[in-house]
Amino acid sequence: MRVGIIGVGCSKFGVREKTIQELAFEAVKESLDDAGITREDIDISVVGTSNTRGYELMPAVPINEYCGFAGKGPIRVEAACATGSAAFFTAYSSIVSGMADIAIAIGVEKMTEVNTPTSLAVGGRSGSYLWEFHQYGTTFPGYYAMHASAHMAKYGTTPEQLAMVAVKNHRNAAKNPKAHFPKEITLEKAVSSRYVAYPLKLFDCCPISDGAGAAILASEEKIKELGKEAIWIEGIGYSSDTANVAKRSGYTGLKATVDASKMAYKMAGIENPLKSFDVACLHDCFTIAEIMAYEDLGFCKKGEGGKFVEEGRSDFGGDIPVNTFGGLKAKGHPLGATGLAMIYEAVKQLREEAGDLQVELKNYKALTHNIGGTGHFGWVFILGV
């Protein structure tokens, strides 16, 4: 059965004086308007939020109530920073199972209600608390910094190449009013910023953001019945890896990305990933993450990710524009929202509704790549017209 996306929504990302319900409402409202349906048309809602920082410990029902979906689900989903993608898959599955004709995936995160040390601790506890955070004070930037140290030592990836990811994504975010940081930065400013977790500096790291995303999915039959246009889900891949970083087999890439992309490429019949997509939304929570993703997704050979960004191959006009709306780095990374903000971007691009950030369409296909933790979860979706 084919499943299509008929509506997408995304809130403004940033430090928002809104509750988790109000943030979700912004994205849901836009997605319903976009689909041209009302809340009564939704059969089931899936609420994705990791919500390890919020005061509302079980927020799915409060969110569902506020959005007028009481009685329709909700299914609460959590997959760390890949929560939005897991919610999207759950909504897809509810349709494929025949239980729903129209499903909404909501992804939302409220991250700025606690201070930065608390946020760092929550992120660091998300690997394996007892064996890592408890003893060693691991943090989320720290885990990616460990991968950066290995990548730089083995392949000679430079701090400047890392910073080029940030410069590119900020340049794109500058044209996206929904971005947390809609402003350009210089390479000099990025490389001279202070260390957060060596070798990663402040401008190698995504901000701590509030935000929400939503997507409305429907069966092909329902889409025909409603007379709607849709963007189709052509490929899905998922994987995961160990919780303990010490139980990994290496630190220069993410196995979850490699495995999830292989699954998605097989389902969608993709043979040459570099030549198959007009746009890609990659998980760039830290600059090294985007560089590893180029390699792990097969856009370039292992170790050549630094050169890939340096040569402009992931920029507008390059082989494959990556993170055209600013990426997690500059658009922001509200954990639960991120996967659905990627779907939002991919859908807008494939419909040619991306305005100043529109890419040229040749293949009419887009890829989203969403990682939870440091490859603790991996999701890849391929969308097409």
Binding site: Q135, T139, V196, L200, A246
Partner: protein, 134 residues
Amino acid sequence: MFIEGRELTFKHNIPVTSVEKYWKGLEEGKIYGTTCKNCGAKFSPPQADCSVCYSSDMEWVEIGGEGEVECLTEQHSFPAGFEFLKEPYTIAVARFGDFRVIGWAREKISVGDKVVAETDKDETGVWKVYFKKA
């Protein structure tokens, strides 16, 4: 406008009975992993059950000798719970044969360096692994 929420503190009692030897070992300067007697799978950090063959017949193995640093970071931002640290701290993963071990380093180390592992406790009384150059 904001309203300050009511405070809630979690202090967890974490059961470590099945891996007590590891925690006691740290106090004696020893680092232990486990090996599955049935299929040979190796675990560091140790576990009482085998995730590969589902046997619970495990053997304690001391991890020692020279290791090689595979990745590291120097943390400049302190998470809640580590305010007692006054200086940036280095976290590394080093490979000792079949086992990888995570630890702190008190001296400057680089990826590829050969290290040995020691144990000590920090200012909060938590025992852990420390690497130093071999």
